[in-house]
């Protein structure tokens, strides 16, 4: 960034102002009222699976309507399908739950059915009116990335020249004077307010949403909250409790338990102790999820993408991965370990012999775990003097040797091949070196491929397939991490780095 660009950003940060434009929408308002009434009526039943599924779907629709400047009848909302789904849930429970509760559910579904034919688009119309009253070349419309293509298509018809901006692009914006933001401020990252990228912002949302003022300070006790000043307070007066929705309740909540159940073959962590590994689940852009190891050792290729900067690649420990990191996975082909595959090619005819030696000591270690149990083996290794046993990782197929030679020597003593420790150390060293060369090669290929990739599109959508120019690594996929499970779960080795499609209700509901 040129220095003048930074000067402009500080200017904006010092003087930015924001307004709130609330829009009436009788159709959506009716649905929200019915949904609120149902929620209040549920009381003791809100933990039941049926009602949880019902509420998840309604919450998802509520959020999508709030943040998507399209008419409710638009196919992207799939409201007619949702009505069928919700009705089927209710029908399956007729006679099980109190009739008045089911009637509330029916009213909620009926209000959605009415919406499915509602062709008005008050959010889109208001946004277009505001934007077209100014200089379109220096303004933008901020929308969530979901349904981006459809929004683009419709807005181009309504008012050509409107620039769509997703929340991930905000930090890289320079030279924008005004932004219209669809939805309340609570639905966006705090930096939209604390590090504004436009001098004037207007939040456009339905009048049944109650936005909140947010504390933009990073350090508690700071005398001044940085960022935009709102010209108006959020409206808090709601005559009838059922008619409003607190914006904070529209923030997506990931149901990690449900996602875990839906995406692992061994979700309870039972089975062979040595084949189970502690892992975090990650929600990825585009509605996918994946498990990555939560132990020291395993690494994954990570891409730092900062608007205006060259993509920066590195290998980072999987346990350090978090939201907004871009990770590289291989989802096509049988072997997920693309580094290992390239390393084998690099080692040529020696690969089979070296891999056999690697398998040999691992098999012996697995045998010890089977005989004595995981905890005992780990303790015995420590007693022997191994400084970093990391037994789970040592048992995994992708660990090669210990970092410390003495640890490896002791490991060989423990598995009973002390006399071959030197041979094993040297052989494993050759594999390690081949892996390092493979890592550098993949990094180089990826950097080259990324130069030819539309990184702006990657930032917008959050994922892209990258075809490497040489055949040895094939197609790799880059995904942005959206969220990381707060707790570590034991999963089968076979479940690691396997991509699963997530049912949208589980992370939008």
């Amino acid at each position: 960034m040129k220095f003048e660009g930074a000067v402009a950003l500080y200017e904006v940060a010092a003087h930015a102002v924001a307004t709130r434009e609330t829009i009436a929408s009788p159709g959506t308002s009716h649905f929200v009222t019915e949904f609120n009434r149902l929620r209040r009526a549920l009381d003791d039943f809100d933990k039941d699976a049926t009602w949880q599924n019902f509420m998840r779907r309604c919450r998802r629709i509520q959020r999508e309507l709030t943040t998507t400047p399209l008419s409710p009848s638009d196919p992207v909302f799939e409201i007619a399908n949702s009505v069928d789904y919700l009705t089927s849930l209710l029908d399956a429970e007729r006679g099980t739950y109190p009739a008045d509760l089911l009637a509330r559910g029916d009213l909620c579904a009926a209000s959605l059915r009415d919406l499915s034919t509602d062709e008005s688009n008050p959010l889109g119309s208001a946004a277009a009116a505001i934007l077209t009253s100014g200089d379109l070349s220096r303004s933008g419309l901020v929308v969530p990335s979901r349904h981006l293509d459809r929004i683009k298509e419709c807005l181009t018809t309504a008012a050509s020249g409107i620039r769509l901006i997703t929340e991930r692009e905000l930090s890289g914006l320079v030279g924008i004077e005004s932004l219209v933001v669809i939805g309340p401020s609570s639905l966006y990252p705090l930096h939209l307010l604390s590090a504004p990228r436009a001098a004037v912002m207007c939040f456009v949302y339905f009048d049944w949403v109650r936005d909140r003022d947010r504390d933009t300070r990073l350090f508690p006790g700071s005398p001044i909250a940085p960022g935009v000043s709102f010209r108006s307070s959020p409206s808090t007066l709601v005559a009838v409790p059922d008619e409003g929705v607190d914006a904070a309740t529209l923030v997506p909540v990931v149901d990690w338990d449900a996602m875990g159940r839906a995406s692992s073959t061994n979700g309870d962590g039972s089975g062979d102790e040595a084949s189970i590994v502690d892992a975090n689940q990650f929600l990825l852009a585009g509605g996918h999820c994946v498990y990555l190891e939560a132990v020291e050792g395993p690494k994954i290729c990570v891409i730092n993408l900062e608007p205006g900067s060259k993509a920066d690649l590195r290998f980072a420990e999987t346990q350090t991965i978090g939201p907004d990191d871009y990770i590289v996975l291989r989802i096509a082909g049988e072997n997920r370990d693309y580094i290992g595959e390239i390393a084998d090619k690099d080692m040529g005819q020696d690969a089979a012999r070296l891999r056999a030696l690697q398998t040999e000591w691992k098999t012996l270690l697995h045998g010890r775990v089977r005989e004595r149990g995981f905890s005992r083996v780990e303790q015995e290794l420590r007693d022997l003097g191994v400084t970093r046993p990391y037994l789970l990782y040592r048992l995994a197929p992708d660990s090669i040797r210990t970092h410390n030679r003495n640890d490896f020597q002791l490991l060989m003593v423990y598995v009973g091949i002390e006399d071959r420790a030197d041979e094993m150390w040297t052989a494993m060293g050759k594999i390690v070196n081949a892996h390092k060369r493979a890592g550098r090669r993949v990094r180089k290929l990826l950097e080259k491929a990324l130069l030819e990739t539309d990184t702006q599109a990657l930032i917008q959508t959050g994922w892209v397939d990258v075809q490497l120019q040489e055949n040895d690594a094939g197609t790799l996929s880059v995904f942005r991490v959206e969220a990381r499970s707060p707790v570590v779960t034991p999963v089968a080795q076979d479940d690691l780095q396997v991509l699963h499609r997530v049912e949208p209700d589980l992370w939008h509901g």
Binding site: A6, L9, S171, L218, I224, P226, E306, S309, D312
Partner: protein, 318 residues
Amino acid sequence: MFELTLIGYRSKGLYCALPGWAQYLVDLGRFVVTHSPQDKRLVVGISVPTRAYAAALCGLGVASAAYVDTEKEDPLRHFAWLASLPMRTMLRFRKGDRLHCATFVGVKRVDGEDYLVMSGGYSRRWDKCSDIQPGEPEAEFVRPRVLTGNSEFVAASAPGIDPRAHASHTSTDCLIVGTKDRLRPEMIEQGFVTHATGQTPEQSGFLNDLLRCDEFLLNRNDHDRTKIVSAFKDVPDLIKNSAPPAVVFDGAPGYLHHRSNWRRSARVVIIDRTSSKAVEAAEAVQQECVLDIGGVDMSSVGQPPHGIEITAFYEALR
């Protein structure tokens, strides 16, 4: 320490003085060096709307405050120290705007004056040795080379220092933890200028002319004063165990990765509020506050400008 004056930049052909936020960051860098007592450590956390230029400017303040002109030390003491070095120690010295290398041969006395004798029959009287320094352990013996640097810009923006002395010694005045690729354009591509006055014309240069980052100097064996450590990689023990006057963390990831290092150095943690790790880093800064042994009077730096949020405290050295 050297004073920094009259640096600005050109916009649409006109000279512009550094804006308030930029000057504040330079002043902050100077403050952390000049307000770090031996027995406690100063920790400053700042949040900014963009990381652009923040670490480079703060680093400039640190480097300017930490600068010591070793050539102004007592010449007799310096000579005695050189004379005590083992024979054949590699030395480097300056002749005009060139750096030369030679090995230490011994000391001789001529007409009642001591001289330092180097290979090639070259000798210097005791009071003319202030530019002579032992070569760094890993330095190669090289032929005479021109000192790189923009002496006109350095002299104009830091009046009072000898630009040749500035360019011919290595020292870690400032350590920046960040990403080289992001700092490079700010340090060696963005031009800055000095303000022309009646006597002196405008001089243009780059922040790195003053910072002298090892990563961005022209030749591998040029002398540097600022080190950049990768935010994501582990650092060699030599750097990890060093105690620079101050460490500037350029962004949350580097701070989160390296915060346990350089426990004796003052630190400035720059947090870009758009970073996904901003909250985590701010919480980590606040955690350090547990060892808070006193507030910091920052009135000499002035009020933080709009857009910058700051927290500062002293902590007990561990």
